[in-house]
Symmetry: C2
């Protein structure tokens, strides 16, 4: 147990749920499903079941420090690592690995996004426990592969090879979002799993892989040896972190590394990456409406999402398959089928009205 660490990545900012999530309060900080806990808090609840609380780290952007402290009061300040700049997941995970290794050179770590939904926490707990045992024993990178139930084109896919160790398969290929036909072939073949972005590995294993595949990141962090885990760490990070390449761990390491294994998992996972996914996972009224927070008087409205502030009264008529989000200073009304256009709207808003509304 002492060697188990968790890194919760919660510095992301997406515009797909704008204006429900905004730059000042991204998705992971929202009570997305009306449970009373934000997605970040749900992530914390899930991992604190498995990993000692003092071994949990939250990696976030420094501007979200107040939000993380407010939402995760269980973490002490030195468990919240504040990125001085946005550099995608590879530098983030590299820092976390160097930091943890300085504290415990035998550590194994679970890397978890903070904005996903996992419904079956007992299955998750069992998977993580077995996965951490695996990466404690073998110098391999392990990724959680979700059993696909449909030809989803919004996810990355992992192809599993024949070689198995302790029931985990060696990864053959990673494929980013395929088109529908290809996704169908993938799912039907039985050889593919969805890439959940949940990773497990020993700190030394990942640091070795970073050296091999992204040496510029490794060399930069190597300069800080002796500083990680000390009071000199933040000054070092402030200087070096922004100089790291902006690159994802998938692209920088996972897709290049030969020793990646996948653990097939089926714990009711969704990355909640779209309004469609949010709609699908949410409880609905008899007429198929998802109502988040607000009061409603609806007539002839079917299969919509209504999200607004607690005190808002939404009176709507004749809307079908729409997203209606009302924030203090923004109202979005958009067909669910056009949700991919929301990013365009955000760009247009930015061009016309500046950052004020983002």
């Amino acid at each position: 147990m002492e060697n188990r660490y968790c890194v919760i990545m919660c510095g992301g900012i997406g515009s797909r749920f704008w204006p429900f999530s905004k730059a000042a309060r991204p998705k992971q900080f929202l009570d997305f499903f009306g449970t009373g806990r934000s997605l970040l808090q749900m992530t914390y609840d899930r991992v604190s079941n498995i990993i000692p609380v003092r071994n949990i780290l939250a990696m976030t952007n420094e501007k979200y420090a107040p939000l993380v402290k407010e939402q995760l009061p269980e973490l002490s300040d030195d468990q919240i690592l504040l990125e001085p700049d946005r550099r995608n997941t590879a530098p983030c995970i590299a820092w976390a690995a160097y930091h943890i290794r300085a504290i415990n050179p035998n550590a194994v770590m679970l890397v978890s996004p903070s904005d996903h939904l996992i419904l079956r926490e007992d299955v998750f707990k069992d998977c993580v426990t077995r996965g951490l045992d695996f990466v404690a024993r073998y110098p391999y990178l392990l990724t959680m592969g979700i059993q696909p139930n449909r030809p989803e084109t919004g996810y990355g896919y992992i192809q599993m090879g024949k070689e198995e160790i302790d029931g985990f398969s060696r990864v053959k290929t990673f494929t980013e979002k395929p088109d529908f036909e290809l996704a169908k072939v993938f799912v039907e073949s039985g050889e593919f799993a969805w890439n959940s972005g949940i990773f497990l590995w020993g700190v030394n294993t990942i640091i070795d892989s970073i050296h091999e595949h992204v040496p510029d990141i490794a060399m930069r962090f190597d300069k800080g040896l002796g500083k990680f885990g000390t009071e000199k760490e933040m000054a070092f990070i402030k200087k070096e972190f922004p100089a790291c390449p902006n690159i994802s761990i998938d692209y920088a390491v996972m897709e290049k590394e030969k020793n990646v294994f996948v653990q097939r998992a089926d714990f009711g996972w969704s990355d909640v990456g779209s309004w469609g996914a949010f709609y699908e996972k949410s409880p609905k009224t008899e007429t198929g409406n998802v109502i988040r927070n607000c009061k409603t008087v609806l007539s002839g409205c079917e299969n919509n999402i209504f999200a607004a502030k607690q005190e808002k009264l939404v009176v709507a008529s004749g809307l079908k398959d729409y997203i209606v989000v009302d924030d203090d200073d923004i109202l979005l009304i958009c067909p669910l089928s056009e949700e991919q256009k929301i990013k365009q709207y955000v760009n247009e808003v930015k061009a016309n009205f500046g950052d004020e509304y983002l």
Copy 2:
């Protein structure tokens, strides 16, 4: 000029424009057309061109006193008559007539709603001037009849008889909102005009008619003779006004009185009694959207009304022929074709959430 008075009725409260207009700030107090002046202020501007400002009275409910004072700072407190209760137009006009007669027994008065739109003010000025001359000369009630340009079913119609005096026709019948077929017959006959609710008469003429047709109102106000125009007036009104029957001047007097004349007028009038009328009279974008106050980013939106607060950004996609109104605590989204259902929604809101949102 000294004998000319104007009574602006601004105590009404309608729910047809809810939540754009609400009980706390009904339609007449709103800058409906984005001109910078409310409908009440536009009414004041229009009549103060014709009638001495000191002879203009605003009749309103006592709860709207602060709004009237704020919007019409030109009026002194004794020009704002505050109704202690809602009793429709007959008691309101009776009070105004008794009040004015006490000040000037030779007065003629123009009675004007405060929530209508009149586009051609010069024509209006000319009509009112000629109308006031007419009622100064003859003991007749005069009503402004608008030249109809379509078989509108939302208006009342006035049938004009053959008898004419000074170019004004004696009224034959009043007909409340006809059905479409009947309205067509009315318009094609050339004998009918729309009832604008704008009246002109001598104070003695209207008080005589009230005696004849609604004696209970007349007798009640007669008890206050000697008090009108004095400091005793309000105490008297507080006691007697609420005891008056709740009845309109049309029903109580106009439809019963034989000596009613109509002045045909064509000054670009609309009672702005519906979102459809509002839409029709408002400036539109290239794609036919009416945008009141708010900022917008629109995609595939045609022929909608968007009304919100100045600072609100409305981002909408794929809406056609909708009314979208965003108020602080209420959001309404409703097809323009279903605007008559808004009253139902208001009732439902009231039943479910109380008066808070009205």
